[in-house]
Amino acid sequence: MKTLTRRSLLQQVPVSAAALSLLPAMPALAAIHHSPKAATQLSAKSAGSMVVHVNNVATGEMTLLVGTRAVVLRDPRIVACFLDATREGGSA
């Protein structure tokens, strides 16, 4: 089996995300109707990056934070890869 580096893993994320069913994102929070202006102005600061929060390692549920959006998906395989990467003791 090909060794999975963190770089190749992260490159796989968009493909995996597209192939998975998407869950509603953060329904419990106060509804904030952020404007396109808000999205454009503030997401420009984080252009080219994405934040992934693994909500539950056991179920593989994670939230992808992109610009001013959140996409929740469930993929135990990707989370397992994350765990493997952390066990390798990789540095930033």
Partner: protein, 458 residues
């Protein structure tokens, strides 16, 4: 305080901390309403070289519900962008700031205003100038004129201002937080001392203000002009909020890069003064800040069964025997803060009722005209144009709420109750005369901020 540092988490994030919200029919332009939301509590005027400013990473909102469901129908969003003219100096300004484009002004803020109405988003203006902080007579020699230039009339009909102002909320912080040992009554406190005048704990401090003035017809649900106080269309509910993006990462690059990503999450909100401050217990305040007003039914028990009356009876055992014996749920508090006061309860032509939805909103009956002889005690002073019908900058909301909590408004809903004699006299002893400068008579009504050179002073 009204809502300054009122919850554990937001007290550590002053840039996003709502302090006060005001909503009133503009006295000098009664076809309009003025909405004000203040942020950043207790600004020391001399707090340089990085003087106070709005957060570039905070979404500030003023929200209006005009159909009584506790959900905003109209939202005004303010987003800021800080620019640095000269990164090679430590100074905020390198000479006198004579205009909003003066090259001597190094660190300045621009902002956009966006309206979200009935799901439709419209950017109303971009690159609007916020005035500098009031540094002192050499750096900002004609501050009033400088700030006036930062009052912007938008093509869409609104007038806006965003910048530093003098704190308008007056309260004896030191005595309130010393177990409500109000100085004029401290001879009757369980820890008795000689009675003394109140001390304004917010005097000579500044805040940052978002203010907007707009025609009443832009606020009603159907565009009508509100003239009948009994018409539900005359009522609006107002609150303000601050939100941050979900994630913030300090990139370990050594360049100070920060990545912020994800949807905005509400971290602060404010409708009625002192609601979260004194009604919501410490363990729930942060959660309350994240909630939308239409979910406030979950906090009903805290409004019905308040802690302050219990403490008053405890700390002033001789003053409040009737209050101490009253154990019914406080329906007067529910009406004042969560539904508005229905018609026929106070006086003909007075109501702030927005419906059965329980929501902490600052309710304003836009059909009630401003008065030329206002009382700082609002409804308790027989002035129906003041709090809790909206809130004007000079209203003594601390004393109004203190007396209401002490029982003076219980008879509105329970005629069997007789308020204690002290309830209608209780106060921290302050009036607007305890603020060092007068309020303005026109937009944005809050005063020019105190300058760093002069405050504090010997």
């Amino acid at each position: 305080m009204s809502s300054h540092r009122e919850a554990p988490e937001i007290s550590k994030d002053p840039v996003a901390d709502n302090t006060d919200v005001y909503a009133f029919v503009s006295p000098d332009n009664p076809n309009t309403v003025t909405l004000i939301a203040n942020f950043i509590p207790l600004e020391g005027p001399a707090g340089g070289p990085n003087f106070y400013e709005f957060g570039d990473d905070v979404l500030y909102q003023i929200l209006i519900d005009n159909n009584g469901d506790g959900v905003a129908d109209i939202t005004y969003q303010f987003l800021f962008q800080t620019t640095l003219q000269n990164p090679n100096t430590f100074l905020y300004n390198t000479g006198p700031i004579g205009s909003l484009t003066d090259p001597n002004w190094n660190k300045r803020q621009l902002y956009s205003v966006t309206r979200v109405k009935n799901g439709q988003t419209t950017v109303l203006a971009e690159m609007l100038a916020s005035p500098p902080c009031n540094i002192g007579p050499f750096s900002t020699p004609d501050y009033a004129a400088l700030a006036q230039d930062a009052v912007h009339v938008l093509p869409s009909g609104e007038t806006v201002f965003a910048g530093q102002r003098a704190e308008g909320f007056y309260v004896d912080l030191g005595s309130v937080f010393d177990l409500v040992d109000l100085r004029p009554f401290q001879n009757l406190h369980i820890n008795p001392m000689e009675a003394a005048p109140g001390v304004n704990g917010t005097n000579k401090l500044n805040v940052h203000t978002l203010a907007i003035q707009l025609p009443k017809t832009m606020l009603t649900r159907d565009g009508s002009n509100p003239t009948n106080p009994n018409d539900p269309r005359s009522l609006i509910g107002v609150y303000a909020s601050a939100s941050r993006q979900t994630a913030r990462i300090l990139v370990p690059s050594g360049q100070g890069q920060v990545v912020e990503s994800g949807p905005f999450v509400q971290v602060s909100r404010l409708g009625s003064p002192l609601f979260n401050e004194v009604m919501i217990p410490l363990g729930r305040k942060d959660f309350w800040n994240t909630q939308s007003p239409n979910n406030d039914k979950q906090f009903l028990n805290f409004v019905q069964h308040q802690e302050v009356p219990q403490r008053l009876a405890e700390y002033y055992p001789t003053l409040f025997p009737n209050l101490a014996a009253y154990s019914k749920p406080r329906a007067d508090m529910v009406a004042i803060f969560l539904t508005g006061i229905p018609a026929g309860v106070v006086a003909p032509g007075y109501q702030t009722f927005t419906g059965e939805t329980l929501a902490d909103l600052l309710r304003l009956n836009m059909a009630i005209a401003p008065t030329t002889a206002p009382s700082i005690l609002g409804i308790l002073g027989g002035d129906f144009a003041g709090f809790p019908n909206g809130r004007r900058v000079f209203d003594d909301v601390f004393t109004i709420e203190l007396r209401a909590l002490a029982g003076v408004t219980i008879p509105l809903v329970d005629p069997t109750f007789t308020p204690d004699a002290a309830a209608s006299k209780f106060t921290d002893g302050l009036t607007p005369s305890d603020i060092s400068s007068a309020f303005l008579t026109s937009f944005p009504y809050l005063r020019v901020p105190y300058s760093g050179f002069d405050n504090p002073s010997q």
